[in-house]
């Protein structure tokens, strides 16, 4: 049964703690979120479908999910690398770097957006040489969306993988090496399987955070309909036309997607913990 205790425990406070948790969760999160659903249900199913399958909406959802996926993938690869470097090597300024990794989490997204746009615009510090050398434009293209989403998703993979790498027993690697495994083999057969659950979690967190991102993206995206317009901006644009039902329709699609994604991550973690426990 949902939220019913399975086994008796001597510990006190289950009813109080769970009751408070559910009440607080309902008041602050579930009931307000249900307002979005309720507003959507004021329109018919056909109208809902018409809203969410309009070309601009589909394009924006594709961009939001696609760019978030790409940014999370890049963060998975480089985040793993950063975590590895921070855990395994000593170099000057390591602690500073370690502390700074969390910065995108704490910096207001609007500030991040403005700073990134200034840097990656055609006349910016990085945008100008990039344009001159490769002809690639970053700001005001879908690539700009990707850059902003990479920035805000950066801490998540590093922070989930780091503790696992710290716990990783070096003996295992050394044993593998002394048995004649190449570094590549050691990495793919020993290290990667161990960090995989954490890596996937970090990836999913970075993805979940990036899908809904608004503040940093609108400055750098260029916001061209069908090209570089993200889904949260569509919601705003619909609100500007006083189309609340249309706005909440898109919001509901995003909410359901986020929920399913997070549920998948949590089931994955639960499954991997159980797997690890059974193996012990």
């Amino acid at each position: 049964m949902l939220f019913m205790r399975r086994s008796h425990s001597v510990l006190p406070g289950f009813g109080l703690a769970l009751g408070f948790t559910l009440a607080y969760l309902s008041l602050l999160v579930l009931i307000p979120l249900s307002a979005a659903f309720a507003r959507t249900f004021t329109i018919s199913w056909e109208a809902f479908l018409a809203h969410v399958t309009a070309p601009r909406v589909v394009a924006s959802l594709q961009l939001s999910f696609g760019a978030a996926l790409a940014a999370a993938a890049v963060n998975a690869v480089f985040g793993l690398l950063v975590a590895w470097v921070l855990v395994r090597y000593r170099f000057p300024g390591r602690r500073v770097v370690d502390a700074l990794v969390d910065l995108p989490f704490a910096l207001p997204t609007a500030v991040a957006g403005i700073a990134l746009t200034a840097i990656y615009a055609g006349n910016g510090w990085l945008g100008e040489p990039l344009l001159a050398l490769t002809g690639v434009k970053v700001a005001f293209t879908p690539l700009g969306v990707f850059v902003a989403l990479t920035f805000i998703g950066l801490p998540f993979v590093v922070r989930t993988v780091q503790p696992v790498l710290e716990d990783l027993e070096k003996e295992l690697e050394e044993a593998a090496q002394s048995l004649g495994a190449t570094p590549a083999q050691t990495f793919s057969r020993v290290i990667l399987p161990t960090v995989m659950p954490a890596l996937l979690t970090g990836f999913a967190l970075a993805f979940a955070r990036a899908v809904g991102e608004y503040g940093s993206v609108i400055f750098i995206a260029g916001n061209m309909p069908l090209v570089s317009e993200i889904a949260p901006l569509i919601i705003i644009a619909k609100l500007e036309q006083y189309d609340y039902a249309g706005a909440t329709s898109v919001a509901v699609v995003m909410l359901v997607a986020s929920f399913l994604l997070l549920l998948l991550v949590n089931l994955l973690q639960w499954w991997s913990r159980r797997y690890a426990e059974n193996r012990d």
Binding site: L2, A99, A110, A112, W125, G215, M254, W270
Partner: protein, 287 residues
């Protein structure tokens, strides 16, 4: 772990045997290049732009009354949101980590949900609830109560976006610690309060602090959700991130970045605190 000797080479592997010396250098180099592109350069740009017109402009921007009222509102919102989510985090973690019940994954997912909800939606839902056209709007208006476009709305939005952080920090920690210690305490006659104050909280204090720090950092920096419920009344319902946007829109770039650097500094202080907490924690865990 190996300590850094004074004659240590620039980059040194801590593993005892590392056959290829260039691998660490390349890896560190690539990692730093990646971080530079996405992290260091933007951070540097904030401070560079803030000080471009000199210290005078910088200080004037920070001392401006509207900036001050924005700082105060930001601190107030964080001061309410963080303790609320702290109490919630402890309760949720206690229920989830110390007991077995059905639907745990679902509950954790629901707690996580605010993390991945677009900030635009987070603000919108409170407008749908408490706005004049919303569910409780007319009732609130009749009783002269204001929620959205006033401080309570800003606090609510802040609570929403920082909702999961303390709980998410505590749940895995308390799960890993198991329940033996608490069970022993109960058998020895401890009551619920003693259990909480003497056994559970001391065990998780560093995780708790880390959660609070994350929660606070996010609370002060939130932009999108607060923007929807604020009403942008200058000197009145503007938080610091919103004030920055306003300055930017007034072409007052130096002042905008000056205030931004204030938030970046706040973030940096937070991160230094966090690092201190972590090293403290690591030292305590070592026997």
């Amino acid at each position: 772990m190996a300590s850094i000797a004074s004659s240590a080479p620039l980059v040194r592997a801590t593993a005892r045997r590392r056959p290829v010396a260039w691998v660490p250098i390349v890896l560190v180099g690539v990692a730093l290049a990646y971080l530079s592109l996405f992290l260091f350069v933007p951070l540097f740009a904030v401070f560079f732009e803030a000080l471009r017109k000199g210290w005078g402009v910088y200080l004037a921007a920070i001392r401006e009354p509207d900036a001050w009222s924005a700082v105060k509102l930001t601190l107030l919102a964080a001061a309410i949101a963080v303790p609320l989510n702290l109490v919630f985090g402890v309760a949720a973690a206690w229920a989830i980590a110390k007991f077995d019940f059905g639907g745990k994954s679902l509950l954790i997912t629901l707690i996580d949900l605010p993390f991945s909800v677009s900030p635009v939606i987070s603000g919108l839902i409170y407008v749908l609830m408490f706005g004049l056209q919303g569910w409780f709007g007319p009732w609130l208006a009749e009783h002269e109560l204001k929620v959205v476009f006033a401080v309570p709305g800003i606090v609510l939005a802040t609570v929403f976006v920082t909702f999961p952080f303390v709980a998410r920090e505590l749940i895995p920690l308390m799960q890993a610690q198991g329940r033996e210690e608490e069970e022993a305490a109960v058998l020895l006659g401890a009551n619920a309060w003693q259990l909480l104050w003497r056994v559970t909280l001391p065990n998780v204090k560093w995780g708790l602090l880390y959660g609070v720090i994350l929660c606070n950092a996010r609370a002060m920096g939130e932009f999108g959700a607060v923007s929807v419920v604020s009403g942008h009344v200058r000197g009145y319902t503007n938080t610091l991130p919103l004030h920055i946007e306003i300055l930017y829109n007034e072409y007052n770039f130096a002042a905008a970045f000056a205030c931004a650097s204030l938030l970046a500094l706040l973030a940096l202080v937070t991160l230094v605190l966090k690092t201190a907490v972590e090293s403290r924690q690591a030292r305590e865990q070592r026997p």
